[in-house]
Symmetry: C2
Subunit: 340 residues, 2 copies
DNA sequence: CTGTTAGCGCTTTCAC
DNA sequence: GTGAAAGCGCTAACAG
């Protein structure tokens, strides 16, 4: 059996109270000598407080939950890394929850995490959440009085702390880059329309077009799903529209575009310039390294944890948005527009 | 405040015991009517047991810890996904721990997990562990009487359950594939020599060579580190050795080889055939899709959880090795040897 | 059939 | 300065 506080009491002759006081640094008026005896005994008996018991009485577990759709997705695994690293730095622990983008799992995980006594939740809403469903998740956390921070995906109207990227700016940067290179017909392979971040990228795209006094053409939009498949289909669709450049709303789908274009006999960037989004590690490895908008995902994870723990310590998370700045990483998949 | 069992007692007029019995399905001789009253009350009051309290008394938390080096590494993120999915299926939870391959973190996480009351640990030893250090980690888990399963990385002499891949066979398959294509001078970019799995792949390589009666040439080995950098340096080294094929001991380093060969003006597979290992998702996306030995990482994660939970339920994990079979995925990076 | 009681390991108030 | 006692929310003997 593990050593308990009682064992130390028995061993030293002091009461459980005194031991607890000393071990928690709350022993204001206990003579050094007593302290030393207790500390030494704790050490010798290799005492480690049972955190389950501590959690029960303190109603604090120093544990948070991370709800995401899928750790095996590169974006989320980088986020999770940042989250876990910061947790460790602050001596907290992390319970990982994958929802596979099912709203019902958001709900069940929130409840389970609450039952397990986590002190807070980092929440990245499931993709299949309608606005109403999303609000249900948030409502549940509020009802359970469990502090939370939303990451990456936001819900208009949610009054909470939100950590993400300035996607409008990201969309603008990608588009402006292509415009500067002389491209005028720029196709997009978007993300799911229900996602605010995809919509924001689109807004940035439109804004850049407007600045260059180019009319926005809805037919140059292929509505995708952030996966490689979308990129493949998007490439098929856009090639027929005679675009000279494509802005893929994330790298995974840019890979699809890239692969498909090649198969169609179009080369990147000679025939078509391509910009991705996320700047996944792999993008650098492609034969034609991908120009991409970088999201500092790891740092976002770190920041979200900081916000959450602050919120936990102060009672609740303040309502605010922390938007990171995107950075355009120019590589070889984009080049000047050439008249054909 | 959350509803407690006392609230239900007060609400229904029954004692706490009865409530507990009913809610836990242990109410053998309690009349249906009483049950219904209690169940309905629990439902109406939206009762959810406080698992921290349950954990304290039952000494079970239905939580396991996963100790790996880095979730942002594709291999581990896929493993983690399998682990978490199986946990969810069995109604368990997962605490994620990244060590960044530091042995000292293995040790501290093991202790923390024990303090938090996890029922078991899935352990993938830190890379910087010497044999002695590795044994220290295992010894600690044994001392703490916490069931564990080792995954991916094994320690000769550890008496425990181990889930991994038959890497010797994997190395053999990759090499044999190249031999069948007529290659005779096959270079290797290995993983860290301290890792059993890298050593096993090498053994498989030698075995295949022996079958084809080819002398093993130590100079055709570049000792790498499983990262892209190793691949880059390995390519430089091996090109000078006039090999016609390279077996990279993992995909990440195969990418390095691939990128470097291209830069050196060698094309894959025309000039040099290339085989990777792990079959990471991305390998399919490369301009020259990579032939690779597949590790069913996700399934390994699932199996490890099954073993661990079985072990927890039965008192301890049986000493056994569960080796998955590798599968060679032939793509376009390998072709027949051509006399030059 | 159901309730009383003790106790999991710890913190904390209050009293001496 | 230190200890007794209560209690966190729950389970599980043991009574009756």
């Amino acid at each position: 059996m593990r050593t308990t506080i009682k064992d130390i009491a028995r061993y030293t002759g002091f009461s459980v109270t005194t031991i607890s006081l000393v071990l928690n640094g709350k022993a204001k008026k206990i003579p050094k000598q007593t302290k030393d005896v207790i500390l030494e005994a704790a050490d010798r008996l290799n005492y480690h407080p049972n955190q389950v018991a501590v959690g029960l009485v303190k109603k604090r577990t120093n544990t948070i939950g991370l709800i995401i759709s899928d750790v095996s997705n590169v974006f989320f695994s980088n986020l999770a890394k940042g989250v876990e690293d910061e947790c460790r730095r602050q001596d907290w622990n992390l319970i990982l929850c994958n929802t596979n983008d099912k709203h019902s799992r958001d709900i069940s995980y929130i409840q389970v995490l609450a039952d397990k006594g986590v002190d807070g939740i980092l929440f990245c809403m499931a993709l299949d959440s309608s606005k109403k469903k999303g609000m249900e998740s948030i409502g549940l956390m509020e009802k359970l009085k469990i502090p939370f921070v939303m990451i990456d995906r936001f819900l208009e109207g949610a009054r909470c702390c939100f950590v993400s990227l300035n996607h409008e700016l990201g969309g603008y940067m990608a588009t402006e880059h292509l415009l500067k290179l002389g491209h005028r017909r720029i196709g997009c392979v978007t993300g799911p329309d229900v996602l605010e971040d995809s919509m924001a990228r689109l807004t940035g795209y439109k804004k850049a077009l407007a600045e260059y006094e180019i009319d926005f053409e809805p037919s140059l939009l292929y509505h995708g799903n952030y996966d490689r498949e979308s990129g493949i289909n998007g490439a098929d669709y856009l090639v027929d529209k005679d675009v000279s450049a494509i802005f893929a709303f994330n790298d995974m789908c840019a890979y699809g575009v890239y692969n498909r274009l090649k198969r169609l006999g179009k080369s990147v960037p000679e025939d078509i310039s391509l910009v991705g989004y996320d700047n996944i590690f792999f993008s650098e490895i492609l034969d034609v390294p991908l120009t991409s908008v970088e999201q500092p995902v790891y740092e976002m994870g770190v920041e979200a944890v900081k916000q959450l723990i602050d919120g936990i310590n102060s009672g609740n998370c303040a309502e605010k948005s922390i938007l990171f700045q995107p950075r355009l990483i120019v590589r070889e998949s984009t080049s000047e527009y050439k008249e054909r």
